[in-house]
């Protein structure tokens, strides 16, 4: 057993940290305020190849398709300065580009994956609907075959990157077997006639990340745009979510780390009653708990990534990582605000933003409650 990361991964962490601190951190507060991603950062992230992390070279990526730990490290380091950019890059990579690489046909990869991996086009995954979130069986968006094309109708909500994406993966109902709906996943170009972006959400946290409603009105999609075969949507969606949970976990590790670092700095500077507040046990216990929670989350996240890279079933590990990491980030950011006292409530101090961003992570990509259901279901079926 070896807990050390490779020299290459160390370099990836070092460079990503420098890059994030140089270019993303200075504009994070402004982006949060305006609920808008900075276009210059967009360009730079593209140049850094971060949109193609998990994709092989031959499809325009960085070639780290067997190195999910590096993916986690990059998302973690971006999340350490701005959770919004972590989710924007992470969603694009993990629930759009990566599934296209895993389930796509060669033609689909040539046509859709290459522009995603090079960052020429941004991707979004459209699953959630007004009446179907964690209960994916309730999906009402439908796809009906008409000649050589599927015709999509319905609307999706809360799609991360939705309003700025050019390529979508859309889950839609394609049939019925008894009382059970059958789904398929479609690759949809947002230039297709009948597609439109609805409401852009104004959120509590990860405000700079784009969250939008997507509307499909007789959107005609060629037959060859079905991902992973007609009727296989449910299994594909589950696989996509397994990988996506590593992303959220990594984002939360970075966010928690940022909260810890800010708290340590403040506790070593701020004086009350004639001493640094870090000398008080009440603060020390919080710092210790933050450190433990974040490190546990980091280990679980890397373990899920490791299992993925070694062809093991990592679904349970990624759910555990997502649950533990999002709750660790929530606790750490909550403590960070508390340690900062009145200043923690102020926009001028980053921890206020971290706190809002962490709350989102306990909800999207499967709430903490859903994660506990998934984990318990797995454990209750397991033989020990």
């Amino acid at each position: 057993m070896d807990f050390s990361i490779t020299k290459k991964q160390q370099m990836i962490r070092k460079i990503t940290r420098e890059f994030a601190e140089t270019y993303i951190a200075p504009v994070a507060e402004e982006s949060d305020k305006n609920s808008q991603l900075d276009p210059n950062v967009f360009k730079l992230i593209k140049e850094m190849n971060y949109f193609g992390i998990c994709i092989p070279r031959k499809y325009g990526g960085a070639g780290l398709h067997n190195d999910t730990i590096s993916f986690a490290i990059i998302v973690e380091e971006i999340g350490r300065v701005d959770a919004s950019w972590a989710i924007t890059v992470g969603v694009h990579c993990s629930v759009v580009a990566y599934p296209l690489y895993i389930f796509g046909t060669e033609e689909q990869k040539q046509k859709f994956l290459i522009p995603l991996a090079t960052g020429e086009k941004l991707g979004a995954f459209a699953l959630t609907e007004a009446n179907a979130g964690s209960d994916a069986a309730g999906i009402e968006t439908s796809a009906v075959l008409d000649g050589d094309e599927w015709v999509l109708n319905g609307s999706k909500i809360f799609a991360t990157n939705g309003g700025i994406a050019k390529t979508l993966l859309v889950a839609a109902k394609t049939g019925q077997r008894g009382r059970k709906s059958i789904f398929s996943v479609f690759i949809v170009d947002t230039d297709t006639k009948g597609f439109s972006v609805g409401v852009k959400e104004d959120k509590l946290g990860v405000r700079a990340s784009n969250t939008s409603e997507l509307v499909f009105q007789d959107v005609r999609v060629p037959k060859e745009n079905v991902l992973g075969g007609v009727g296989n949507g449910y299994q594909i969606v589950l696989k996509i979510l397994d990988f996506g949970r590593i992303l959220i976990a990594a984002q939360c590790v970075g966010l928690g780390q940022a909260a810890l670092e800010a708290s340590v700095k403040y506790a070593n500077e701020r004086e009350q009653f004639g001493r640094k507040i870090g000398k008080f046990q009440g603060i020390q216990w919080k710092i210790a708990d933050m450190g433990c929670a974040i490190e546990s989350a980091r280990l679980l996240t890397y373990k899920a990534a490791y299992m993925c890279d070694h062809g093991m079933d990592y679904g349970l590990a990624s759910s555990m990582a997502k649950l533990v990491a999002s709750e660790a980030a929530m606790q750490a950011t909550h403590y960070a605000v508390q340690i900062h006292g009145g200043y923690g409530l102020m926009k001028a101090y980053q921890v206020e933003r971290f706190f809002r961003d962490a709350k989102v992570a306990e909800i999207y990509e499967g709430t903490s409650e859903i994660q506990r259901m998934v984990i318990a279901n797995r454990l209750l079926r397991q033989t020990f």
Binding site: K7, N49, A62
Partner: protein, 268 residues
């Protein structure tokens, strides 16, 4: 054309602490970095490669862990990297260092096509030693012209025209034929970040070649501590003694003030 870039791995200065009892640098837990101005040297070499076409070769002398600095240079886009490492190189001053670097450059030139023109680029100085001597001494070792404190460079056939800020408040524009050596200032450019593809290639497709005393066929009297004309006798933190007064105003006013202070202290 070959462009050689000489880089040094140094402790990240912002985080260096000094042990007050021994007066030595505490290096444990301090991350090592590429000497900041050397990154500008690498950037310049890469820009020359992109504009003129050239093979960019990075060189560093140091312990095996300096490989990390060379990997970062490879990740930025450098083509090849050589690490000059040997226990016998240890304790080298600037003269022994430039002798060793010159041997490596000559060796690489011997192995390439005859009379290939080349340029050597060094950062002005390292943040740890701060001597600014290795560049100029290396040019002497190689017996090639040098232009130091370069803030801008232009190619004109096999000549370069460089703007040097050697003297304060004036810029000297100088021309020389290649081969030549320049030392650069950080004002010359903004170094690029290594891309993800660059990092992956630096570890999977490129290599760092190790060169030792034997491979360089080095004269043992000229390397390491033996070859050093200067030796570090002691490193210490200067103690602040007394107060200092800063004078301002015109020269006349300052002289007047100074004389007054000197009179007050009964020096005059």
């Amino acid at each position: 054309m070959k462009v050689f870039v000489c880089i040094k791995q140094v402790p990240g200065v912002a985080e260096v602490k000094i042990d007050v009892t021994t007066g030595k640098l505490i290096r444990e837990g301090v991350p090592s970095i590429i000497n900041p101005v050397d990154k500008h040297a690498i950037e310049l070499a890469l820009q020359i490669k992109e504009e003129q076409g050239a093979e960019v070769i990075a060189l560093s002398m140091g312990p095996p862990q300096a490989e990390e600095a060379l990997r970062e240079a490879l990740a930025m886009g450098v083509d090849k990297a050589y690490l000059l490492t040997d226990k016998e190189f240890a304790g080298a001053d600037t003269l022994a260092t430039s002798y060793t670097l010159a041997l490596a450059i000559r060796k690489i030139l011997q192995e390439s096509e005859k009379n290939e023109k080349y340029l050597v680029i060094c950062g002005l100085q390292a943040i740890d030693g701060d001597t600014a001597q290795v560049g100029p001494e290396l040019a002497e070792e190689l017996n090639i012209p040098q232009i130091t404190y370069v803030q801008k460079i232009e190619f004109k056939g096999d000549k370069i025209i460089a703007e040097s800020a050697l003297r304060q408040d004036e810029v000297m524009v100088m021309e020389t034929r290649l081969p030549a050596l320049i030392t650069v200032l950080k004002e010359i450019n903004i170094p690029r970040f290594p891309t993800l593809i660059g990092i992956v290639d630096a570890y999977e497709k490129k290599e760092v070649v190790y060169l030792d005393t034997r491979q360089l066929n080095a004269d043992k009297r000229k390397i390491g501590l033996t070859g050093s004309q200067t030796q570090v006798w002691k490193i210490f933190v200067p103690q602040q003694k007394g107060e200092h007064i800063k004078l301002s105003g015109s020269v006349k006013e300052m002289v007047k003030q100074l004389c007054q202070y000197l009179k007050e202290d009964k020096i005059l």
